[in-house]
Amino acid sequence: MATLQYREMRGNDVAYWGAVFACGLVALAGLGVALYMRMHGHHVTGMNNQIVWGMPHVFAVFLIVAASGALNVASIASVFGKAPYKPLARLSGLLAIALLIGGLWALVLDLGRPGHLLAAVLYPNFRSIFAWNIYLYSGFLMIVGVYLWVMMERRLAHHVSTVGTVAFLWRLALTTGTGSIFGFLAARSAYDSAVLAPLFILMSFAFGLAIFMLVLMAAFAVEGRVIGARLMGRLRALLAVFVAAVLYFVLVYHLTNLYIVGRRGIEAFVLMHGGIYTWLFWGGQIGIGGVLPLVLLLRRVPAERYARSLALASGGVVLGGFAQIYVLIVGGQSYPLQMFPGMIVRSSFFDGVVHPYVPRWPETVLAVSALAVSALIVLLAVRLLPFLPETLKDEAITPAGEAHEAPASLAVHP
């Protein structure tokens, strides 16, 4: 195996700066909308006292979960010693940082008092998983920053394994913390489950790898760089395992709820008569996000179609992931609180009724701007620093002595 070479992305200047400009504009729009929400109050959004968390939280949680998962590729290389993943490690770390910052962007700008955020640092209440998460998120950014540094500074290369292990353990804690935001909520039927923490970890594996693949393939396609078919084959199998694991945990979560008599109401709501949530669950989460990717990834296809199937499957996992988090966060709030189980409840405060949620433009712009922020960070970083390997041809990244049963390298086309 030759020494790995990394190179900044060059690409088409007009297209590149156009993309940077567009992302910057959307990010600015998010900032403007946050200011608008702060000035007029959150009543300008579709969120209210019934649906407390909406679109910004769906996007934020998706990005935060995906961020920890995006780091997995680097962990596979430096913690589990799989050499073929090593060339991907830098991009993996960069995406982890970019996605987390994007997620936090939506989360923080949606706060009622974003200017008071310092209070969370000065007066942390360590009984709150939210307070823990503030440290988990900021710690993650620092650790992955150091991880990237030791990966990119050859004189520090001997620290990669140690820092990588710390980052891997930290990311497990981070996703556990994110899942526990919901898992610790005893009041609501859809949450209050220890399964949510491991489910979130598996979701992060799948969402993170899917986004990683989309970004990698897009960057390589633009640059005309090559990804080896053998590596593609490995990544296809890896994504299939992650998607299957998510489906397994989703099954366990729903079976547990169905077994608990008091939870059958929320199950019937999500699985059968929850309207948009039922559609999103079966069509989005299970269909597009689970079954479709599995079919695409497990079906035997010629090596030259690996890229296509992987790109489609990754797209499905991302869309299904958004659906899954929407069902969990918004659907979970839409179903009424069970204050008096078994009773018909009504009040002026919408007790006992399913709460509708129609996202309005301010929170939708804010949510989408989180994606723009992540994209902007990636775009600028790959141009400034050598994150992307020159090539991912199999013969360039596979250690000498490993079997070469896979077909020759293939160029990725958009």
Partner: protein, 265 residues
């Protein structure tokens, strides 16, 4: 030459000797030091004020052992379905809009429950239950949701960042988020756009020896459906009543220890 003059000369020399390689570094260090000092001077007073505030009596733990714990007993048998005097009194006293939209705050509301099998129906007020181990207090990342030693759960508007995690966590839907610009606030019930809020048990009235506005309004109607008092004082009317008759709390299974008790539900 005075120190100041020496310093001035040195500065000039630094600029003049810009090509030596050392001068710009020294200049950069000075600028960084000045910037650092400016940041420190800006932050220190605020941080000190915050830190002093930490000395205040507040807790996030489920303390239920003090000599005073204020609570309510609501007798749903006496609460009339068509009466909402308690709700109006709360709105008027605390300066709430009284609007029923999903984005308007409701600190207290009348809830009607019906058993679908027997048609048994009751109507009664629900507000913050001022739990001993309150979920809103536990989940609040900044400690803005806090519990006073007398059991009253409040929100510190200066600390609240508006994350709404307390609204997610409360099993009673007792918290509201202020999503509108506020007008006509009452000095005794400060509110804040972008912050969470809920029933304060009319803490300033209680401190003056009065009962909460809702309880007073209920007493005026003659329905006698609400009793307020110190749960930990065996001589208080509420403690004696609780010792005498069977009562319950809403979602007692969650073990949060509400200080609002109900009879007849």
């Amino acid at each position: 030459m005075s120190d100041k003059q020496k310093g001035d000369t040195k500065d000039e020399d630094l600029w003049a000797d810009g090509e030596s390689g050392h001068a710009p570094d020294a200049m950069r260090r000075r600028i960084l030091a000045m910037a650092g000092s400016a940041i420190a001077l800006t932050l220190v007073p605020g941080v000190t004020l915050f830190a002093r505030d930490l000395q205040g009596k507040r807790t996030t733990k489920g303390a239920d052992k003090g000599p005073v714990r204020y609570g309510l007993l609501i007798d749903a048998r006496h609460c009339q379905t068509d009466c909402d005097a308690c709700v109006h009194a709360c709105q008027t006293y605390n300066g709430l809009s009284g609007k029923d939209g999903p984005d308007h705050a409701q600190w207290i509301r009348k809830v009607t429950i019906t058993d679908p099998k027997t048609r048994f129906t009751r109507s009664f007020p629900v507000m913050c239950q001022h739990c001993a181990d309150a979920a809103c207090v536990a989940v609040c990342p900044t400690g803005a949701s806090f519990k006073r030693p007398d059991g009253i759960v409040l929100v510190d508007k200066h600390r609240c960042i508006g994350c709404r995690y307390c609204l997610m966590a409360c099993p009673y839907k007792a918290r509201s988020f202020v999503g509108h610009t506020l007008t006509d606030q009452k000095p005794w019930a400060p509110r804040g756009k972008g912050t969470a809020e809920g029933c304060t048990m009319c803490v300033e009235r209680v401190m003056k020896g009065r009962v909460p506005a809702c309880v007073e309004a209920c007493q005026k109607t003659g329905h006698k459906a609400m009793v307020f008092g110190n749960l930990h004082d065996p001589k208080s009317a509420i403690a004696q009543k609780l010792a005498d008759v069977a009562t319950t709390t809403i979602r007692a299974d969650l073990g949060m220890g509400p200080s609002v008790h109900y009879r007849g539900i």
